[in-house]
Symmetry: C2
Subunit: 217 residues, 2 copies
DNA sequence: GTCTATATCGTGATAGAC
DNA sequence: GTCTATCACGATATAGAC
């Protein structure tokens, strides 16, 4: 009989704390919550949190890096395919909206914590090279040189993509309040918005593409 | 001789505290800073902060609402002009980038603080009606009915505008770190990006417009 | 109005019993 | 490994002298 302890959801104390910490840190940020709050959310006490993770700061670093990794992975395997660039970007937008629907707070979390002067600092080159290694940037340059893709620099392309994916989730609370719409309505809104964003971005980045004539399904 | 006390920069204790609080709160958020920190930044002590503003929370509300107001005003007077819609939106984008270059932290501040469950809540209708009162939404519907503007709903239009204005400033730290670029380089990047965003959005929202042939100056 | 001193509480972290 | 109890500190807020 096989050992199942590693296969079933790990419900050890350590894992419970890790899960609770992920939820609480991502929702409230490092300075927005307390160790006790995390312990309570895990059904434990502060002593155990520090027993397993030494300090609030150490635990935070683990959670932050994991969130960063999840986020990065969700895009890497889209880029690591053999599809033409335009299809890759369409898939990326699909994937990103899917990922963000599941974890809508991660971008805010990363942006806020990296924005603080005393906040987390990632290895400058690691993330960028990770993405560059997929060849996506080189591919853009090839398409641009061939005149199939609009000639704007890589940074602006990534900012365009990120803006239109992440912001609608980050600002959800504000938008819902200002427009007075419910959670369910906004979820539907986001489905439409993804289609709009895809049409707009692909249309702009690949001005000559036939697929630009496509209307919303 | 006129009284100048109200004309020159008010350097009273109360105003000094207000200014310091604005800076610190916007940079670090409510839970990211302390009353002492604000007092120190103003060259005062904690007792004075509470003497003038009763509590950290009360002071925060004042600062938050002021930031909200500044932000709102910057768009309202663009909408309160007689230009055609397309020009209004171009001007809005100009204004927004100008405003955000000056106060890049305000969107994050508003979004973060409104996102928290125990955070600030604004009067649902006030902001929306304030904007609606300019007639900008009605104008969109007229242009859409006339076939000059793409038929997407108002919420998506505002999300498109906001995403492409605010996100590049909110995520500045991440983008700079990931792409390994300096503050000065990123400032230049943003100037280019504004032009790209304008071309893309106007081109998408007004598909038939002649101005879409315009290239970047 | 402005300061120092202090009350009161919540925080991160740990010691020590079990 | 897990808990209770506790320490040392820093937070908000206020009392009271000047």
């Amino acid at each position: 009989m096989l050992k199942l302890t590693k296969l079933k959801a790990d419900s050890s104390t350590e894992q419970k704390i890790r899960d609770a910490a992920k939820e609480v840190f991502i929702a409230k940020g490092f300075s927005g919550c307390t160790s006790r709050e995390i312990a309570k959310a895990a059904g434990m006490n502060v002593a155990l949190v520090n027993y397993y993770f030494r300090s609030k700061t150490a635990l935070f670093k683990i959670i932050f890096e994991a969130a960063m990794g999840d986020f990065l992975l969700s895009m890497l395997d889209v880029f690591n395919t053999d599809l033409p660039l335009e299809e890759k970007l369409r898939n990326y937008l699909d994937r990103e909206y899917e990922f963000l629907a599941k974890y809508p707070e991660i971008p805010s979390f990363i942006i806020n914590e990296m924005g603080r002067k005393d906040g987390v600092h990632i290895d400058n080159t690691a993330v960028f090279e990770c993405i560059e290694h997929t060849g996506i940037f080189a591919e853009c340059k090839v398409e641009q040189a061939a005149g199939r893709m609009r000639e704007i620099d890589i940074t602006s392309i990534t900012v365009l993509m990120m803006s239109n994916c992440q912001f609608p989730f980050m600002a959800a609370a504000v938008i819902k309040q200002v427009h007075g719409i419910s959670d369910e309505q906004y979820e539907k809104q986001l489905v439409q918005h993804k289609q709009i964003v895809t049409d707009m971005l692909i249309g702009y980045l690949f001005p000559g593409s036939i697929s630009n004539q496509k209307t919303q399904k």
